[in-house]
Symmetry: C2
Subunit: 346 residues, 2 copies
Amino acid sequence: MPNISEVAKRAKVSRTTVSRVLNEKEDVSEETRRRVMAAIKDMNYRPSALARSLVRQKTDTIGVILSDITDPFFSRIVQGVEDVAHKFDYGTVYASMRWDPKLKHNYINFLRNGRVDGLLMMGHTVGNEDYLREMVEENFPLVLVEYWIEKLHTSFISIDNGGGGYLATKHLLDLGHRRIAHLAGHRKARVSAERLEGYRRALGDFGIPFAEELVVYSDFTTEDAIPAAKKLLTLSVRPTAIFAGNDLMAYGVIHAARELCIEVPRDLALVGFDDIELASMVTPALTTVHQPRLEIGSMAAWTLIQQIENKEIQPTTTELKTSLVVRESCGAGVCKGFGIGLKVEK
Amino acid sequence: MPNISEVAKRAKVSRTTVSRVLNEKEDVSEETRRRVMAAIKDMNYRPSALARSLVRQKTDTIGVILSDITDPFFSRIVQGVEDVAHKFDYGTVYASMRWDPKLKHNYINFLRNGRVDGLLMMGHTVGNEDYLREMVEENFPLVLVEYWIEKLHTSFISIDNGGGGYLATKHLLDLGHRRIAHLAGHRKARVSAERLEGYRRALGDFGIPFAEELVVYSDFTTEDAIPAAKKLLTLSVRPTAIFAGNDLMAYGVIHAARELCIEVPRDLALVGFDDIELASMVTPALTTVHQPRLEIGSMAAWTLIQQIENKEIQPTTTELKTSLVVRESCGAGVCKGFGIGLKVEK
DNA sequence: CTCATTACTGGGATCGATTCCGAAAAAGAC
DNA sequence: GTCTTTTTCGGAATCGATCCCAGTAATGAG
């Protein structure tokens, strides 16, 4: 691999001039520029990003740490992140912490040591978060997406989980359900508490007392949701509707229900949360709370880049609105057309 | 952010000694080691990966380029990659090319310029692949996963797609189906051709003539598969079974079928390919061809690391076996237990 | 023709680590 | 006590770029 000096020698100019051509500076004559370009092409030269970043103290890269890289929930968020990042000439690299706090810690260190200019963390909180405080104290650009940490002086992007929970529950109440269970997500995740709050608020508005037994927790995965859902479906007085903490968990409910010969939506109404792509694809199509994920992603990237390029900027907290997408799983019947849901804005 | 010299000054030693402590070299006395460690902790020092990589000409990082970062197909593959990579003390970074050839090109350049020691490419081929040849010529470590390029002197990891197609089709034939359609994946992808070949071979073995009209192509997505599936389901003589190019496309078939009031498996038998996690979760649980994805991932990472650490090594081609997982979508009835498929080894 | 101004170009320091080689100090041999 | 060997440490070069500052050539003004 040739370096900048060899290119310079070949083009019979100095390193400095090659660098100028590379960075499209103006003060280089057309003729030398052509010579340099030719040398670059001839030698198949590609500048070392490493050396460049080292001297400039800037990598033009943002790191994205996800709880699980293949969670469909992140799909469009990532798209939003990339769109904005590329617009500002930033590259993106991803790391998946796969729910393993140690892995997460490794990754953060891995990326922080000069590999990226800032970090975007998204997903659910697990384990000790002290190193996040450390990062913030050291003024390392950090934006958290749906990843709430108490009293952390940094930017947050989140959605109105409480409102979403309210929408979902109210929809079920409007359909006449009175015994509505909630299969909540990870007990320690803030989003779980918020969605639960929305659920309680809706019940309250309809004068229905909150029943402890109707709320069960599980992880945000289908596998984990199955036994939890079974617990709800085998209560002495079975709920007629369930509001699940996310779409994947809603599939767990369907799964569990089928094993008990309960059919959705015939015997059980079901609402999910997230509106992942698959929600409209599988049978029954899921009624669910929609998150503006493209916006979440672009907002997050934008916020982070602002923070990188202007370290003095104050952290911001952004909350995006949710909406309800009515499909089949509540038997609401509003939507015969398969998959194309009636979108009810909040 | 302190650098190694400042740490050295504080510990009253030279940079060299600090570096030795950092890299756990043996020739440093216990006492100075302690002093250095203390200084490191006091100053909250973290070595710059950039500077280290620059001088060592090694990043200890492998790049993974995926066609779509959130395709559930990659989930366990990525897990396999990470397990092996971490075992060998490599970090991993991901980039998603999102089917955009230009984006892909950008990413490859982005990662190649000294950011990673080698590249793992997985997913389906789109666009011009000349730069891949260029990489190989320059002896840049590269391993392709299910990403076949003609006459490229580099390592490949793939699965026995032909065998998988055969298994899927034979299963349908064994169940008595005689008019079996194939909803093939991306026309230009090699995997499509291979799976199609398996389909034809199985038909041949049962003495059934191949009918052009029974094969339709679409992208590897649910959305794209829907119209294609409709084409098959509205043939004058409707097929009684469909072998779909992957699981997501199989969902497209279910989707299309429902719109036409055709129910799977009652009116139509269906086999997918990949065995993504969701295949066992949704209704009906999908009978599908299983790929050993964890092994694919670990194999790929292992092969790449071998190539990085020993540039003289010859490229290898690995083909892993597939197996059939029988669930509900063929109405085979072997499996009442929901989701837990009878695994028929090839 | 001389001097001032502008347009290009190059030298050398720098970013933050590693590594080779040699030097000093300590330990051991006789 | 002297010489050799081992242990421990430091100096200087290096990786491959960028950038400040200064120097040269070309151009224009008078």
